[in-house]
Amino acid sequence: MDIPKRLLIAEDNPALAGVIAFNLRHAGFEVVVRHNGLDAWQDAQAEDFGLIIADQQMPGMNGDELCAKIRELARTKDTPILMVTAKGLEMDLDRLKDELQVSAVLSKPFSPTELVARVQQLMSIPANCK
């Protein structure tokens, strides 16, 4: 499907959310920004997003939980999820990849250009049209 899908960004830090949104918009995507895991979940239930970017640590509902819920929902179970995290070596990467089926993980501090490149890469994988 060629219609540029919207992206959901769940990031509690406004400055970071801002710069991510700026870069993605600059790359041609439409983005929806939520600063709270719960709000993001509401949106995810309501709308089909092409990709969801989530911060692992957020108020309301953290990134892990959000991921799990998204994976449980039939409609969003295959949506690519990019996790942004402040955890470095201490993170359980295997669990994120296997259990939550996170598509990619980016550790802070990351480069916005890299993020955009990853998003583009993940989006170019043809998603199952439902």
Binding site: P14, A15, G18, V19, F22, A86, P109, P112
Partner: protein, 596 residues
């Protein structure tokens, strides 16, 4: 003989019996001897004499009639010789000797010997000692010839000498000797019967006494003779039983002590068989496993008991039968139920005989909680450090690479970088302070401070924000300030933080009061605002590290969540206290009180 009578003491019995037998033997001997001697002597002598006397009298009477007095002499001689008499004599009615075994006395006047005289019937006996010191018995009887008394007949015997007695008794000697001998021998057997078992017991006791104290006594039963022997054998049997049931003698004092120690341990200790059946558990185990008494657990499988609250899979290392010799340590918890304690369980084989396991069970809930809060601290800290850093990097890169043509936007981005950098710096400061607070190394350096100046500096610091938000600041300060000894930097920082909070969280056109009061002993600072306030649920958490209210009005402002806890600690180090009162949507009041 030994059954029911009260027993006299052994020594007395032995000597008693011994003496008795001896005396009996002696008495027997004496009695025998005396009897023999006496009776023989008497019997033979007496009757013999009397018979002689009778015969003599009779035959003399006949002869007298036949031949007259002179015919008696040959008879007298003959009788004397036959019967071994001392003498024999016939005396006529005029006391003239008409016949005598010693003929020279014929015609003489008979003189009655003087001695001990006894008479019975028609016999008179006189016992006297003659000139040769022989003891003589003279028997006299009337001589009748026809119907006439014509005189007396005397028959005398000498009492036998010791020699003759001895010869006479020789025939009875066997009886005399055998009797006492038999008594002595028989008596000694009886004595032996009494003494032997006691002797044997005494021997064993002496041997035991000679053994070194580390060696157990080796006692044997004795031949069953008497009550003492019976008692001894019972004792030996009882000792044998006691030895067979305990491998090592237990010092009862020590085992009592050990028992007390186990009862008092806060750590759970249990003993099971190799199959896991509980043999022993101390009260701490009962408490952890939520049973009233340790004895309830005895006999039950430890796997079953644990699995009630801490489900153990079949493969659980604590239940492994393969690594029986190794120590297995495991942490158990129930993540689904917070009320169930976290346990550290260790299983060790019992040293020595490896007949079972010793289990150590410790409640580590507190430890786990501490670990959890530390993990949370680290998580939050890393997040708070990395986020501003990410922003700085992201914005800088965006500015460099992307086409940010709009100068306003450029400015905005650069400002963001700056503010994020500041935020990061402040957070690092706070973090370091909190770290030293945690470790206990946060200290204050009291120096003489101009309190008035410090307070006005604090106010000056927040004045720009106050003016920007058009807040009303009401100050109430005492006219004069004494010199105080305080840590100016830290206290000022704490006040700036609190005042800063008041400014941050009070919407525009709000009101802030800054009141300082001094009495003789204390300094009181009160900061009251008409800001967003804190909800009742969050009130108890405001001093938690990194805590930031979920209220969006608070979230929209920057904050580390460390300020209040730091401020409180600083005040505490000044020997004061910090109190906070608040009502949601109404405002917050922070009161600091410390000795001046």
């Amino acid at each position: 003989m030994f059954k029911n009578e009260p027993q006299v003491e052994l020594t007395r019995r032995v000597t008693g019996y011994h003496a008795m037998f001896l005396l009996l033997a002696v008495a027997w001997l004496l009695a025998g001897a005396l009897y023999i001697v006496g009776s023989i002597f008497n019997a033979r002598t007496e009757s013999k004499c009397l018979i002689q006397l009778g015969r003599a009298s009779a035959s003399f009477g006949i002869e007298y009639v036949r031949g007259g007095p002179d015919s008696l002499q040959p008879l007298v001689q003959r009788i004397r010789a036959e019967e071994s008499l001392a003498y024999c004599a016939v005396v006529d009615a005029n006391s003239t000797v008409i016949a005598h075994s010693s003929p020279e006395h014929i015609g003489q006047t008979w003189v009655e010997p003087t001695g001990y005289e006894e008479a019975w019937q028609d016999v008179r006996r006189i016992r006297f000692t003659d000139d040769n010191s022989r003891r003589i018995r003279d028997y006299r009887i009337r001589l009748r010839a026809g119907h006439e008394d014509v005189g007396h007949v005397h028959v005398a015997v000498a009492e036998p000498s010791i020699g003759s007695v001895a010869i006479a008794t020789a025939g009875y000697s066997h009886l005399l000797l055998l009797g006492p001998l038999a008594l002595v021998v028989g008596g000694s057997y009886v004595l032996r019967g009494i003494v032997n078992p006691v002797n044997e017991i005494e021997k064993q006791l002496k041997n035991t006494a000679r053994l070194p104290t580390s060696v157990a006594p080796d006692l044997q039963p004795v031949e069953l003779q008497g009550l003492a022997g019976l008692g001894w054998n019972r004792l030996v049997a009882a000792l044998a039983v006691a030895h067979s049931t305990t491998d090592r003698p237990i010092n009862s004092d020590q085992s009592q002590q050990l028992s007390c120690v186990l009862e008092s341990l806060p750590e759970g200790v249990a003993v099971t068989t190799l199959d896991g059946a509980i043999l022993f558990a101390n009260p701490a185990v009962a408490a952890i496993l939520r049973v009233e008494e340790p004895t309830i657990l005895y006999g039950r499988s430890i796997e079953t008991v644990l699995s009630e609250y801490w489900p153990l899979g079949i493969d659980h290392p604590l239940l492994s039968q393969e690594s029986v010799r190794r120590i297995v340590v495991s942490e158990l918890d129930n993540p689904d139920d917070q009320s169930i304690a976290a346990l550290r369980v260790a299983r060790t084989p019992i040293r020595g005989d490896e007949s079972g396991f010793v289990w150590s069970i410790r409640d580590i809930s507190q430890q786990k909680l501490a670990e959890k809060s530390r993990t949370q601290f680290v998580d939050t800290a890393t997040h708070e450090l990395r986020t501003p850093l990410t922003n700085i990097k992201a914005y800088a890169e965006t500015l460099a690479i992307a086409d940010v043509t709009d100068p306003e936007q450029q400015k905005e981005f650069l400002n963001t970088i700056t503010s994020e950098a500041t935020r990061l710096a402040r957070f690092i400061d706070d973090l370091l302070s909190v770290s030293s607070m945690e470790v206990g190394t946060l200290t204050i350096n009291r120096k003489e401070t101009d309190l008035g100046r410090m307070l006005s500096e604090v106010i000056d610091k927040v004045r720009p924000q106050i003016e920007q938000k058009q807040l009303v600041l009401e100050t109430s300060l005492p006219p004069k300030f004494p010199k105080s000894s305080l840590d100016k930097d830290k206290l000022a920082a704490a006040l700036v933080n609190i005042l800063g909070n008041a400014v941050k969280y009070t919407p525009a056109a709000g009101h802030i009061a800054f009141r300082v009061n001094l009495d003789e002993s204390h300094l009181t600072i009160e900061i009251e605002d008409t800001g967003v306030g804190i909800s009742q649920e969050e009130l108890s958490h405001v001093f938690d590290k990194f805590f930031r209210s979920n209220d969006p009005r608070v979230q929209s402002e920057t904050g580390t969540g460390l300020g209040l806890s730091l401020a409180r600690e600083i005040v505490r180090l000044h020997e004061g206290d910090l109190q906070l009162r608040s009502e949601i949507d109404k405002g917050t009041t922070v009161t600091i009180r410390m000795p001046r």
